[in-house]
């Protein structure tokens, strides 16, 4: 028993089938109906139906811009101290630092440290935006040992908290027309060496209603700028004065 069955010469194989794809009884009904269109359609072989379907699909996607040349090549390079528009915000990234001690901020483990992206935040829309949207707007990548896990819908790792430099409070809501100096804080495992470089990703949102909820809000964070920036240890004002 066994052994691969071989095809007899001239026996039909699946690859050679070129007859009509529709079952005979359906074709008989189409003939009886007298409809020329139905008869012709059901007499077509499967391969021809497949090719025709693919052509129709291509034509439909082309009609909606599917063959249009790609306008964007990917995220642009982020420059330090240059304001950039990433709706609904204007963000100016100043520096990336790390520290083990920040008043008013609590690490999940005493041995951990903060990696902070210091930036100026401005809400350029005409309404206040909650901090969760701001958390999606600036994320971090290429840093080993970040405590926060990356999320499915946002590239990179979101900040654990966003603290105002002036009073340490959490920045939410972000009101329009005001400029805030803030630190996006990412907690890093203390057993890993402090980073010397980190990739900062800036995401732009789109104002639209949800698929299930007609309420309009900011959706679809999409990376429009990114850069690998140097990371240094944070210094207090007193340290900097002593050095100068």
């Amino acid at each position: 028993m066994g052994g691969a069955a071989e095809h007899e010469p001239g026996a039909p194989t699946l690859g050679r089938v070129s007859g009509p794809a529709a079952p005979p009884d359906l074709r008989a009904r189409a003939r009886a109906s007298g409809s020329l269109v139905a008869r012709r359609a059901l007499d077509q072989p499967l391969r021809r139906i497949g090719i025709g379907g693919a052509i129709v699909l291509l034509a439909v996607t082309a009609a909606f811009g599917g063959l249009r040349e790609q306008a964007e090549d990917g995220p642009e390079k982020l420059a330090v101290d240059v304001p950039v528009a990433v709706a609904p915000f204007e963000l100016t990234v100043h520096r990336v630092v790390w520290t083990t001690d920040l008043p008013g901020q609590y690490l999940s483990d005493d041995g951990n440290r903060w990696v902070g992206v210091v930036a100026t935040v401005r809400n350029t829309s005409d309404a206040g935006v909650l901090g969760v949207t701001l958390q999606d707007a600036l994320t971090l990548a290429d840093v080993e040992g970040l405590v926060q896990e990356p999320r499915a819908l946002v590239p990179g790792v979101r900040a654990t908290s966003i603290a105002l430099l002036e009073d340490g409070s959490s920045l939410s809501p972000v009101q329009p027309g005001l400029s805030y100096e803030a630190a996006f804080l990412f907690e890093q495992d203390g057993s890993v060496a402090p980073p010397t470089s980190a990739t900062v990703l800036l995401q732009q949102h789109t104002w639209r209603s949800g698929s299930l909820d007609p309420t309009e809000t900011w959706w679809d964070p999409t990376t429009t700028l990114r850069a690998a920036l140097d990371v240094r240890e944070a210094r207090s004002d007193a340290d900097e004065e002593a050095e100068s």
Binding site: A28, R29, A32, S33, G34, D126, A127, G128, V129, L130, G131, L164, E166, D167, S169, S170, L171, S172, P173, Q175, P176, G177, L178, S179, Y180, T215
Partner: protein, 208 residues
């Protein structure tokens, strides 16, 4: 023995009545589309019932009687929890008295419509916040709303307060004209003595 020939499947052709019914359905859909497009009423049907009032005047809502007190402002806010909050703009505080109607009510919605045409969000937990908790019927609840805004938003600002945080459609919303002027904005923008916005209370706040 001969087998009887299989009956030829009968094909039902659409009757004039069926075609007419189909055409009527399509015509009804087309007319409906034209009506909805020509007379967009969705926003008006779903709009909130705005109940206008001014500072010091109670407003009757479906679910509560609400009174806004005299607004205050400064560039520093005393959150009454040991922290002082600064702002690149101006802190505006508004004391609010809530008298629940019928059953316990938890207010979850507030926003400031600035005189500059922008909307300033007031969350239930954040720098700009309003957290009055649950007001019981027969027990007035006192709470202070706080919101940070650019000084140019203050003159002509209206405060809106409602029940549901996410959805105010087809429900009462208080629309309070705060009566603020540019002189108020200028004075508060130059003032760094903290304004206090403490936690909610069932005791009336002390008068200064």
């Amino acid at each position: 023995m001969s087998t009887p020939a299989a009956p030829t499947p009968r094909v039902r052709r659409p009757t004039a009545q069926t075609l007419g019914a189909g055409a009527a359905v399509l015509a009804a859909l087309a007319v409906g589309h034209v009506v909805v497009t020509a007379f967009p009423v969705d926003e008006r049907v779903q709009a909130s019932f705005l109940r206008p009032t001014v500072v010091g005047e109670p407003v009757e809502l479906r679910y509560a009687r609400l009174t806004a007190g005299e607004p205050s402002g400064s560039t520093v806010l005393d959150a009454d929890d040991g922290s002082l909050l600064s702002t690149p703009g101006v802190w505006l505080t508004v004391p609010v008295t809530i008298e629940a109607v019928g059953q316990p009510r938890t207010f979850g919605f507030a926003e400031l419509l600035g005189g500059d045409g922008r909307t300033y969000t007031v969350s239930t937990g954040g720098r700009s916040g309003f957290l009055p908790g649950t007001a019981q019927p027969g027990v007035p609840r006192y709470a202070t709303l706080r919101v940070e805004v650019p000084p140019e938003a203050l003159a002509g600002a209206h405060l809106r307060i409602g029940l549901e945080q996410k959805d105010q459609r087809r429900d009462d919303v208080a629309d309070i004209d705060l009566g603020l002027t540019q002189a108020d904005a200028d004075a508060w923008a130059a003032d760094d003595s903290p304004v206090v916005a403490g936690a909610w209370s069932d005791e009336p706040p002390e008068q200064p």
